[in-house]
């Protein structure tokens, strides 16, 4: 009995001493938090959805207070929250160019050649484990097992005919799909941009021909036809410079593989 009491007493006193010392130390080493950060955190929707691309509302609030992030990234809060955050930061509530996600791959069912018949778990990352490639012969192709669909909080991603497609009216441009894609092909493009090549393959034309019935072969026809010089073939893949693109849609018309997506068509 005596031993038990003594043991309790010793540990209790030790714990008390350490607690008191730590409490004193926490006063000395107190870190001031930017009051703006706390105010911004209050104004946010607080859903911790990650739609802004930061780890939770706290992470976003810290980035805004430091001036590293724009005020309008809280997707759950919308325009109202953006205005309030802008007021706290004393910045103009500039909307900025709205970005939407785009999956540059046209290798849907029957178009892209299969490497093997994948029957494993519905997960792109799992499909990648087979030699770091995937179920399709083209190493750049969308795997189509929907990691981006599951990452999307806004019902803007769907698997259509074996590849991911973006519903542009639902997309808020949070970039969750961009981060999750194990092939790193999903990208954000300005909503105003009219055309974008629907292919990510940097393979040479001959290789693309073998593995995919769509696929950019780098024929440079779009580059020659573009009146503004906005579309350039680089590493055997057409690329659009949104700053130069005048949105005439000519490249989409002349593409022999019909893979340049015209968003106004």
């Amino acid at each position: 009995m005596k031993t038990i009491l003594l043991a309790m007493l010793v540990l209790g006193v030790l714990g008390g001493i350490f607690g008191a010392l730590l409490a004193y130390a926490s006063k000395i080493f107190y870190v001031k938090v930017d009051p703006k950060q706390a105010a911004v955190r209050e104004a946010l929707a607080g859903a911790n959805c990650g739609g802004c691309g930061y780890p939770g509302c706290d992470g976003y609030a810290a980035a805004v207070a430091k001036g590293e992030a724009p005020c309008n990234r809280c997707v759950a809060g919308g325009a109202e929250t953006a205005a309030r955050v802008a007021e706290i930061m004393g910045a103009a509530n500039e909307a900025g160019e709205k970005m939407v996600a785009f999956v540059p791959c046209s290798g849907c069912e029957g178009v892209a050649e299969k490497r093997f018949n994948y029957t494993g778990p519905e997960d792109c990352q799992a499909a990648m484990l087979f030699g770091g490639k995937s179920n399709k012969l083209c190493t750049f192709a969308c795997i189509g097992l929907g990691n981006c669909v599951r990452a999307c909080q806004f019902d803007a991603m769907h698997i259509v005919n074996g590849i991911a497609q973006v519903n542009r009216s639902n997309c808020v441009g949070c970039g969750a799909c961009v981060d999750i894609c194990p092939k790193s092909i999903v990208k954000l493009i300005p909503e105003s941009q009219r055309v974008e090549p629907g292919c990510s393959s940097h393979d040479k034309g001959g290789v693309v021909m073998k593995v995919c019935k769509a696929g950019c072969i780098g024929c440079m026809k779009c580059q020659r036809e573009c009146p503004a010089g906005a579309i350039v073939v680089k590493d055997a893949l057409a690329e659009v410079d949104p700053a130069k693109c005048i949105g005439c849609g000519k490249c989409a018309e002349v593409c022999p593989r019909h893979i340049i997506v015209d968003f106004q068509a």
Partner: protein, 195 residues
């Protein structure tokens, strides 16, 4: 006295290195060795905690636990000391070196459960070290950890750019290189220092 200190130091740093031959503290060793800078910070924090924990735990063990015949409380009391120390280190880093604080992230509070720290204080008791010897064993054990984690982080930084089979990507190649570094340290095993 001096010769025993040298024996303990060399033993803790090279021959019986905490990570490579006693396999203590493997969690932060693998988790915090992405970059040499982070590894250095983690190693220094562990040196600090191990040295201080050895000193404080020796005093508590000798003058409270042994004096009151409460030796069975050793593990519990030592964990208490280590937890308090880690809290202190965390506060200190948050105030003084915020960049290191955010780089270490969750691994900083995890020093509490780093078995190398608890291991060193329990080994002090087991080996009947006196105060000076305990302190030296704690600090040099920490230096051994620092040496191991910095060496391994440098290896990993180079492995990043190496060409190896794709199926080894990520943690597999990390474990393979850890094994090879440990193998190199086997060269010290069985070495005896004449007293």
């Amino acid at each position: 006295m001096l010769s025993s200190i040298i024996t303990i130091s060399l033993g803790a740093i090279l021959i019986n290195n905490f990570i490579f031959s006693q396999f203590l503290g493997c969690c932060p060793f693998l988790g915090c060795s992405n970059k040499v800078d982070t590894a250095l910070g983690m190693g220094l924090a562990v040196v600090f905690v191990m040295g201080l924990a050895s000193a404080i735990c020796w005093v508590i063990n000798e003058y409270i636990l042994v004096a009151l015949h409460l030796e069975f409380l050793q593990t519990l009391a030592f964990i208490l000391v280590i937890a308090a120390l880690v809290q202190f280190v965390e506060m200190f880093l948050k105030k003084m070196v915020p960049s290191l604080y955010s780089a270490l992230g969750i691994f900083l509070p995890l020093i509490t459960t780093n078995c190398a720290v608890l291991g060193v204080v329990l080994l002090n008791v087991q080996n009947n070290y006196n105060f000076i010897e305990s302190l030296v064993y704690g600090i040099t054990g920490g230096i051994g950890f620092l040496l191991a984690i910095v060496l391994f982080a440098s290896v990993r930084e180079r492995v990043e750019f190496a060409e190896y089979p794709e199926c080894f990507r990520g943690f597999s190649i990390c474990l393979v290189s850890a094994a090879l570094v440990a193998l190199a340290f086997m060269g010290f095993s069985g070495m005896a220092i004449p007293v």
